[in-house]
Symmetry: C2
């Protein structure tokens, strides 16, 4: 089975006017997604943002939860935070992994690769698999040039398709790695 | 197919010392879970908390997002907030529904009913189905006396089983109602 990694992309992403922007790292994204990552055996959760002030902010939170006393206070959170690693851009993440298969996710219908197919790929592959999650109104088109597969969107019952990224990550990891 | 409702329970729940407490309503719980609820066709998302100050706080957020101008600003959030309804306790929620089947969720292994079974139940039942989600360190034992079924926990790959409630709700709704 492949080693699975995830990356939360804050730039380049779109805002609602389709401008390319950087979105902000939030404490709740660090927290929730780290817990989902650990639950589903993900090896590392990369948080990608080019802005020094943002990286400093995130590093402060992460470092706090990696201290010994944090384990005493809330081991479930501290344990999850061990998976979190910061990066300035996607190329930096790709450089840390050995020839990964890159799978993008999207709420838009641009992705056509079935969950079933990626689940099987993860099961058989010897190469690591890196799954990308966008923030804002989605990853910029140019990022998709670095991607091997784009997953179909998570569809529910209604036509409404605007899950929070935290919820989308949880569902996607469950569909790809859950029992 | 049954009409499905969900309730986020803030009291009575346990803290980490097993005391019975009330936990606080958070904006991100209102936001994320409302989006998940709307994605999966849930009819109402009840937020259950007995404390007047907490209900007032939540009502202020909900009311804001139900105003016309909110739809212009962020329709995806405003649309989701339409599903949110406050209640002081579980009995109040049960009183609003017509003889619901009550399904509890738990991160503890107390639940043994398979997801497959509850999914089939929802498909066939004419009675509404109410799914309960706890906060803190889980719903108090006495609440389970009002419950018809307790779902098996969401298990990932590792033995770690400490998803945020937002992530757990997303996964469970997907497993029960997703395509």
């Amino acid at each position: 089975m492949a080693k699975v990694y995830i990356a939360l992309i804050h730039h380049p992403v779109y805002n609602k006017k389709k401008d390319i922007v950087s979105t902000c790292i939030t404490g709740v994204d660090l927290h929730d997604i780290a817990r989902s990552a650990l639950t589903f055996g993900v090896r590392k959760y990369f948080v990608v943002n080019p802005m020094p002030a943002q990286l400093k902010f995130a590093d402060r939170i992460i470092s706090c939860w990696k201290k010994e006393e944090s384990f005493t206070h809330n081991w479930t959170r501290a344990e999850a935070f061990r998976l979190v690693e910061l990066a300035e851009n996607l190329d930096e993440v790709l450089g840390k992994l050995k020839n990964p298969i890159v799978v993008a996710t999207s709420a838009q219908p641009r992705g056509r690769v079935k969950f079933k197919k990626v689940r099987a790929l993860i099961k058989k592959s010897r190469r690591p698999v890196l799954i990308l999650f966008g923030t804002g109104w989605g990853m910029a088109d140019k990022l998709f040039l670095k991607v091997d597969y784009t997953l179909e969107p998570v569809n529910g019952i209604s036509t409404y398709n605007h899950l929070s990224v935290r919820s989308a990550v949880a569902i996607i990891l469950d569909r790809l790695l859950g029992g």
